[in-house]
């Protein structure tokens, strides 16, 4: 059973997390992540000014004040970038620190002169105090979240275009400037309503973390928006519950920490784009490249040997030590390690492509067959690229053995005919040898 207060906070935080997640996706995609941070910091003096004007705590007035100074800050930032030699990063830093500093000075002035009772209000805008959320605040957050969702649903296609390529959108006749402004407005409003709960310092995290985490899971904008909103909502809910459970865990920072954990997991373990799967694929890619080059070197050496002896078939047992002293290496730099790395050789032996021969290595039956495939693919690609130099994109990911999958059969057979005529087509009878799954 959850207490009523906790339920309100939980609902408010989740809705806030969902809307920052949704809107934050666009901020991250438009490379505006830190603009949100500047905006949040610049909003803080607005809260103080509103308090100074009314001399009491009034949520709507403070939020309007926050929105105003936030917008002034962002406009100054854009003006600085356009009209002076101040670069974007410095402009963000200047606005962020000066406005926030001004807010601090104002809030302390207020604290020092008015009665102690009004003090509590302002500090909560720095680090946030989600635990004190009232029902009115919940309705406000719910309203803004619903509005954000509605606007994003209605203008999904337009936002997608602007987020992807604003210049193109403008050329196509979309009001890209106004759409961009609308997006900025959505970001500003979500940031401002989040201020009382999460605080100026950390609200940017709620914009960035879910969106950046969602980016790891998908390449599609629609999916990303959903995942990001869901991540935002769940991490906000989890953070709220955690901080309600344990004493001395402030709600805002705890929400951010949960979000950070979610991000870390995504960054490491996401299926396709995660760091783990990326580095595994990278390693496999390099090894495969190395392996293919090793096989090709051996095959071509064997081929050269056959030509010298006039034999009919490449010998499967051409020891590698001879290969490294081929005349092709004469006149090359002695310091270069033209020979294959021992680790690569050992791996190839384990995989069954090579056999250990006295004084070196040789191709196994299976290895010879695969090497022929590698060499065939290599030569077909080189020929194809020479013929159709403007089609380098067809190469795709670097894998010479994938030639039959990436080029139309007609093209392949035409290229094969050419190689055959030149006597350079390796004999590849039968099935392509099984390669370890990669």
């Amino acid at each position: 059973m959850i207490a009523y207060n906790t339920a309100v906070v939980l609902a408010g935080a989740s809705l806030l997390g969902a809307s920052t997640g949704l809107v934050g996706s666009f901020a991250v995609l438009r490379r505006r992540a830190l603009l949100g941070d500047a905006l949040a910091h610049a909003a803080f003096p607005g809260v103080c000014l509103a308090f100074l004007c009314l001399d009491r705590r009034n949520l709507p007035a403070m939020l309007v004040g926050a929105l105003m100074t936030g917008i002034v800050g962002v406009s100054l930032l854009i003006g600085l970038r356009r009209a002076t030699r101040v670069k974007e990063d410095a402009a963000i830093g200047v606005v962020l620190s000066v406005f926030f500093g001004a807010g601090l000075a104002l809030s302390r002035m207020i604290q020092n002169r008015s009665s102690a009772g009004s003090r509590a209000g302002l500090d909560s805008y720095i680090f946030g105090s989600a635990a004190t959320m009232r029902l009115a605040e919940l309705w406000l957050i719910a309203g803004v979240a619903a509005a954000c969702l509605a606007i994003v649903l209605v203008l999904y296609k337009e936002f997608k275009l602007v987020a992807f390529d604003a210049g193109f959108a403008r050329v196509q006749g979309w009001p890209a400037g106004r759409l961009d402004l609308l997006l900025m407005g959505l970001i500003a409003i979500t940031v401002v309503i989040g201020l009382p709960a999460v605080g100026a310092v950390l609200i940017a995290a709620m914009l960035i973390l879910p969106a950046a985490a969602a980016r790891f899971w998908t390449d599609r904008l629609g999916v990303m928006l959903v995942v990001s909103a869901a991540l935002g909502a769940t991490s906000a809910a989890a953070g709220t519950l955690l901080s309600a459970q344990y004493d001395g865990l402030p709600t805002g920072p705890t929400i951010v920490l949960v979000g950070a954990a979610a991000f870390l997991c995504s960054a490491l373990f996401a299926l396709r784009r995660g760091a783990l799967s990326r580095s595994v694929r990278q390693l496999r890619f390099r090894r495969r490249l190395e392996e293919q080059r090793l096989l090709r070197t051996l095959y071509e050496a064997a081929e050269a040997g056959r030509q010298a002896s006039g034999g009919p078939q490449p010998s499967p047992l051409a020891p590698l030590h001879r290969v490294t002293h081929q005349p092709a290496n004469a006149g090359r730099s002695p310091a270069l390690q033209h020979a294959p790395r021992p680790a690569a050789l050992r791996r190839a032996v384990r995989a069954g492509w090579l056999t250990v021969e006295p004084g070196g290595y040789g191709l196994s039956e299976q290895g010879l067959s695969r090497a022929a495939h590698v060499v065939r693919g290599y030569r077909l690609w080189r020929l194809f690229l020479s013929e159709c130099a403007d089609q380098v994109g067809a190469f795709g990911e670097l894998d010479v053995e994938a030639v039959d999958e990436r080029l139309p059969p007609g093209v392949v057979s035409a290229l094969e005919a050419r190689l055959l005529a030149e006597g350079r087509l390796p004999a590849t009878e039968g099935e392509r040898p099984r390669v370890r799954p990669s």
């Binding site: 992540a33 963000i92 620190s97 002035m109 500090d123 969106a211 790891f216 001395g248 402030p250």
Partner: protein
């Protein structure tokens, strides 16, 4: 605050507070110059936030903020921020700004949570302290050196400034080239990556040192704002560093006095002061300020307008001389000199300038006449115009009626040197392609 009385200021307190603020600000500002030039100011922001968990951990063990473990812990976390940001950006394909945002907000949140847990227990380090620092309490802990009481905070701050100065001095050339052209630096063997991490390490050190006394807000402000202002004011690295240091120092002094006057925190007031200084720089910087740029634009517009006026008058005189008519021209009022696209106001200003300089005078019937001095200027201008037309006619296959317009635009920017080169290249032509006489370069010939 209205009954503020300077006599009531405790000047001993003021001196040491300003000294502490100045020492920390100046070290931050010096390092900040390189951050701003490398477009990495936000990494400075990130590091100054991210050191918080490092400080908290050290606090946990040491229980005091002046301890060496705090320095080491914070520097380690600072470097970690830089490395993590780079890793996320490079290997994770996260946009750089988002990567930075992720790393520093997460670490900062971690720091806040840790400090909140700590302060819930026994140790007095509340989150406010993180933002404002404890500069007001700088005199609480002192140590007597050579018979004088010196605040304890001065030692780490002074050491940091010294270390910063030494670092910049020793790596002057490395920092310069790695900031300007990192690829070349690496290609030369002065690895830009090594310089980058050295710089980030120093930023972390300066942040930690400043953190305790002035808080994270001022660290960010002092890392970025003085440097950004100095970049507008200086065109050399040395002067830029000097400007940044000066701006930071001034903001420490004025920030303290302002805080006393308005009864508020020193940190916030210093941010306001440095923001004002930055605004002044944006507006008034000699070459890159908005005012000087606007003035230069206006000046150029006026020059073009007034040159157009005298050229018109010159041509009108020429026309009269050719036709042998003795009547006065009816050129009057500012409208005559109005080039396409510029308003009547600029033309009026331009005419005022000509009259004031004595290039043009009003005849009794209020029509405009060139003075001798004005005629010389006009002659040179018309010479430029017609030489350019002749040059265009010679080298480009343009119809006759297409020559005037480019010449009208270019004539204002052809100095005597270029005139001479054009003339000699064209073998000193007498007339332009329209058959008009090209006036000689000065009245004597």
């Amino acid at each position: 605050m209205n009954d503020f009385d300077f006599a009531a200021v405790d000047w001993g307190q003021a001196f040491w507070t300003i000294a502490a603020a100045a020492l920390s600000s100046v070290s931050c500002a010096l390092l900040g110059c390189y951050l701003v030039l490398r477009r990495m100011s936000l990494l400075g922001d990130a590091i100054s936030h991210a050191i918080l968990p490092g400080i908290a951990v050290a606090f946990w063990f040491g229980g005091t903020t002046a301890a060496l473990p705090m320095f080491l812990g914070a520097v380690a976390v600072g470097l970690l921020t830089a490395a993590l940001t780079e890793t996320l950006h490079r290997a994770g394909n996260v946009p750089e700004d988002a990567a930075m945002g992720v790393v520093f907000t997460s670490l900062f949140a971690l720091g806040v949570v840790m400090i909140a847990r700590l302060s819930a227990g026994r140790i007095d380090l509340d989150p406010d302290c993180v933002l404002y620092g404890r500069i007001e309490h700088v005199l609480l802990e002192t140590r007597t050196v050579l018979g004088r009481e010196i605040p304890l905070a001065m030692f780490p701050l002074g050491t940091t400034l010294l270390a910063t100065a030494l670092f910049i001095g020793a790596c002057w050339k490395e920092l310069k080239i790695a900031s300007f052209d990192p690829a070349l630096a690496t290609a030369m063997g002065l690895s830009a990556g090594v310089v980058h991490y050295l710089l980030m390490g120093m930023v972390a050190v300066a942040s930690v040192a400043a953190f305790d006394s002035v808080g994270s807000v001022i660290v960010v402000a002092m890392l970025i704002v003085p440097a950004a202002a100095a970049h507008l004011l200086a065109d050399r690295l040395g002067p830029m560093l000097a400007w940044a240091a000066g701006i930071a120092f001034l903001s420490a002094v004025l920030g303290y006095l302002g805080a006393v006057y308005f009864n508020t925190v020193v940190a916030g007031m210093m941010a306001i002061v440095v923001g004002l200084e930055f605004t002044l720089a944006v507006l008034l910087a000699p070459r890159h300020g908005l005012v000087s740029r606007a003035w230069h634009r206006l000046d150029l517009a006026l020059r073009i307008v007034s040159e157009d006026i005298i050229a018109r008058l010159y041509r009108a005189e020429e026309g009269r001389a050719e036709e042998g008519r003795a009547e006065e021209s009816h050129l009057a009022g500012p409208s005559i000199g109005q080039p396409a696209g510029s308003g009547g106001f600029t033309a009026w200003l331009g005419l005022r300038r000509l009259l004031r300089r004595g290039d043009v005078k009003r005849a009794p019937d209020r029509s405009l006449r060139l003075t001798e001095q004005g005629r010389l200027a006009a002659q040179s201008l018309v010479r430029s115009h017609r030489l350019w037309e002749a040059y265009l006619g010679e080298h480009f296959d343009l119809p006759l009626d297409h020559l005037h317009e480019p010449a009208e635009r270019v004539e204002h920017f052809i100095g005597p040197q270029l005139q001479e080169r054009l003339a000699s290249e064209l073998a000193r032509p007498g007339v332009d392609p329209h058959g008009k006489e090209i006036p000689p370069s000065d009245h004597k010939s």
